[in-house]
Symmetry: D3
Subunit: 247 residues, 6 copies
């Protein structure tokens, strides 16, 4: 019997969630059931620290609710991995972010990778994650298309051309061997780009889903020893809609 995995879109644009789920199903095991969850609170897209911070309570609510319902794991499908460690605290089951997933996968395929993302203002978020995850030596560059997340859909062909051009430049400038796509909204283009460019092009959504499957297969869950233990019970003011049922 397969796993049920929540694919949480941290932004509040439901059409984007739908596309993510469509693309993800093809990348998951046949018997994996993917539950697409659109964040119920927060910005329509996430393009900065503030957007990200405001998306987190909704992400955590989704994680908590799914965990209570018995899902087998969670993917946080925004390249900033918003709320990742907090989600690990409250969930019994594994939680994986797509930036984390894509970067890890890239290191197994090339000695150096490049990230291509949306707006220049989000590059520092990717950069901080690279530092946190330990991939300073492997990440050779972070590049921005200067296309907003919600505009990725506007003109698919123009997007593809821009993305392809940025990837070609990144590979040459950085001397890297693989591309990490720096936005969940680029997932659908990974396969064509990979074929076109002749190098691995990694979409974090597929990568994260497969990592959750992997952890399930290995019977591994977040450590509850130490700093990822369940949060201590304590009084809350406001944000009540966001609080999970007490365990």
């Amino acid at each position: 019997m397969g796993m049920t995995i929540q694919l949480i879109n941290p932004n509040t644009t439901a059409t984007m969630t739908e596309r993510l789920v469509l693309g993800a199903q093809a990348r998951a095991r046949a018997d994996t059931r993917i539950l697409g969850i659109t964040n119920g609170a927060g910005p329509a897209s996430i393009e900065g620290h503030y957007d990200e911070a405001m998306s987190v309570p909704g992400v955590l609510r989704a994680v908590g609710e799914g965990d209570a319902l018995g899902v087998d794991g969670h993917v946080i499908a925004c390249f900033g991995d918003p709320g990742l460690l907090a989600a690990r605290e409250i969930a019994r089951q594994p939680v994986i972010g797509i930036a984390e997933a894509a970067m890890h996968v890239a290191t197994w395929l090339a000695t150096g990778f490049s990230i291509v993302t949306t707006l220049g203002r989000t590059c520092v978020i990717a950069r901080h994650l690279v530092e946190r995850y330990g991939f300073r030596d492997q990440c050779r560059g972070i590049h921005a298309l200067e296309i907003a997340v919600l505009d990725l859909e506007a003109d698919p062909e123009a997007l593809y051309r821009a993305l392809r051009g940025a990837c070609v430049d990144a590979l040459r400038t950085d001397g890297s061997g693989a591309i990490v796509l720096g936005c969940a909204g680029m997932a659908a283009l990974a396969e064509s780009l990979q074929e076109d460019l002749g190098v691995p092009v990694i979409d974090g959504v597929g990568a994260a889903l497969n990592i959750v499957e992997l952890l399930g297969a290995l019977n591994l869950r977040t450590s509850k020893r130490g700093d990822l233990a369940y949060p201590l019970a304590k009084p809350y003011v406001g944000l009540r809609d966001f609080l999970p049922e007490r365990r």
Copy 2:
């Protein structure tokens, strides 16, 4: 004419805010006006990633409201510096976190410092901040009292003894020259400890306030070029109480 600085307590315990403001006033310039703000949403204390994440929208609301009202700067008075970069995006005026402030100050007084904090589960938060801020070489150890934030008040003498003991151990084990207090709730003890131990004991609340004053004196504000520019305007779902007025 002096500055008006918001001292934001990210937890929702108003009595703690009051004590912070009392202590802070003595450390600020005579003509500085300190506005104590208790977070209107979130946990009663912050002792983990989840607590911290849930405190952030309220912190950001306070920052946004204060900025709209024309305050001259903001201090985020929790040792995890919750929401710091997001706050810098939305505020016109400087925002300083107390962990950041205390660590910076420590490096001016000793070649190595030790952090003494509350619960062991929060050490990783301090550790991640040390890495982010660049003080891997200067921070020689992070130590926990295993006393919860809200229990810091329970028995002041017992707290003092425990804290003093932990500091003495930290100085010896780490070979460090200064102590950084790892919780806003310890601020009141800094002076006695310093006198008692004969080394600098740094309270981040006083440090952060003075840094905001310093930035005001130097006519310096957060850069709005690049990743700390104001957030892009975009539709929001939920969390409406938390959104600042649009500029």
Copy 3:
């Protein structure tokens, strides 16, 4: 239709390979076919730089032969990941080492992990891999049982007690949240230890197998752009038994 994955034991002890395959089958997908390969050349166990270096040509021969036969991926089942980058050069299909696999998995489950390995003299090999893979901040300690690889089998109960004791010590000393087992020969004990200790205990063999499956599912292969491109054709002297057929 499932994948066929080579599980290559870099040492030349066939009984160890058999046990590895037995254990691995339970951790792989139902339709994955695992081919256990005992290195045809090299030392009976790998406990140092020299042992490791001497195992590599045989490992590479196995990788090359398997790749020529059309297997879908390769696991190098020794905690030093011997020959990993060279194997990636010659193989069309993914190659994963068990040290690499176990460390990556550990970072998804805890903010810090400890490695427990066999002999003290191998700790530096683990240490160099930690540095190469980028996990300096996440790996909190490397500990040795001082039991030789081939003695791991001698007295299973004594081994379990020793290993359990070392893990308990490591978790406390390092303040870590997960254990990485530092030898393929410890794989069979992972599950009991995990149940016993109440923290994730990660066996790299299962982890690496699942990562190869994941890469297959995502249609990802080693980048042939740049430094992992197929080796240049050139004359060879000696070692002829070790050379793969020319592509």
Copy 4:
């Protein structure tokens, strides 16, 4: 009652000291008294390791004399922070360098900063300080005008144009959000540049003065525990003019 702070110019050009003091007064608290001290021994300008080393005994003499006279703190106004740790050993009161001060301040205003300095040969000094202070991730580039320190005064308009051009280039190339001026002699231009460029432009002299004031307000002094304790009393040969009175 305000503080008295020594503003020590490590080079021996008195006219430069005068200008520094003029500019500094406007940036200090109203009741702070600034004592400008021109180094009594050493080179007319500091543009290399040798110049810097030769300036140090005079700097230390000034620190020692000021400390004996009861000043409340010291600023070392050369971007190499010459003699900083030695000065902290001999002084009872705080000592701050302008490179240190400017870099710390920059990290509070932007996630990345650029340094613009005088001659290319001094870049390595800035680079070593960046590494020592921990700002490898935050400092995105170090750029030289190739104008000598004492020529900064020659043609103010040409200097401003050159400096402005270098700052514009640095911001774009480095993707940074703030400018650190890499020479005390550039202090007078900070404000115009800041207005002109629309990003924070940080002059270390003002920054360091305010940090000394901050430490005074917080009742903090250099730790005398460990490596910054007063130097051990010992016989000296030569350099007698440079030795402070024995405490």
Copy 5:
């Protein structure tokens, strides 16, 4: 009485060994005897991880045989330092790699150096060595001529022009003060280049030989405490031609 040092060429091209020995003699002490050893097994040139891995057993056999015969030290004359730590395990006498040697020497002559090597695909090998040896801050760039090792001989004048051009570019781009030649096959050009460019140009072969001499003069040998102790005796399968006599 002078030392006898093995100069081991890890590739199997005997003419290259001859040239190396010719050049080396001029750089060694008058009473040093240099034994040129061409690897008896492996590729004709080393330009990647696979080539390197396959060269190692032959290198180790040469080290073991020389050590048994009583030579006083060993140089591994390929810029990837293949088998270095393994060789240190089996040898009683010192073993030095030419990449290691050249990089160490460069740091004594300039605050930053550039590496110029053969093919782009080998740059990552140099990069990994830079990281392992600790010279991230000192190595300012790694550059490739895109000339294959065995083509270095084809047209000496064209090679010199290409190499000279690459060095000039590297010095300017990197802002470095010295050149490290990234291939043993470039050794003969070091002196002319140095005179021509006016900066130190370091050939690792001469550097490594002199370091072995230095260690002999200081009566220093590889530590046999810990991880470089002699390999444990154990059964071997295959590779028998490569195994040293048991001590």
Copy 6:
């Protein structure tokens, strides 16, 4: 014809210089002439940042005078390497510090080393050099005897016992394979300790002398391109006794 090398003792204790020269002669080439130079200005011993800073002008004067007289290189024989980069600027011939020399040599003999030095207050100086030279991963610990430099001579047997004990502790605690002696005054004990402990014990004086010889043999000098170029000519005030003749 051999080289003439200045062995500069940065402290002003002539008897220490004499002992250093005696010990050094045995470690240099037969035809090397060693000129012992006692610093003409500064403290009797160097045990802190201030002592070190005050020793530098005298060290630089000695370097400049020796260079003018045509010596072939310089050793700065104090474990803090005082004035090293400044000396490289003014000298035509190579300059090597003993801390630098000892650490480099240690990395060729073991994968990790420990430093044993005199007073605890000097450990931070060693630590900063470890960071500057790039040996964070290789230096496993820095330990202090708490014996002052000038007391090293007082009771040779007691010193030996204390030093031996500290080395044994360091090797065990750090898991290291070699000892670096952290003071020129310990040089005479290196050989006995090495025999006694069975691990390499490295005296920086011998190491540095041999490195200068090595650079001479390889016809290598400090790069005069960039930041180690000769200091710019400029007016000086005071310190006139310390200034070299103008080139």
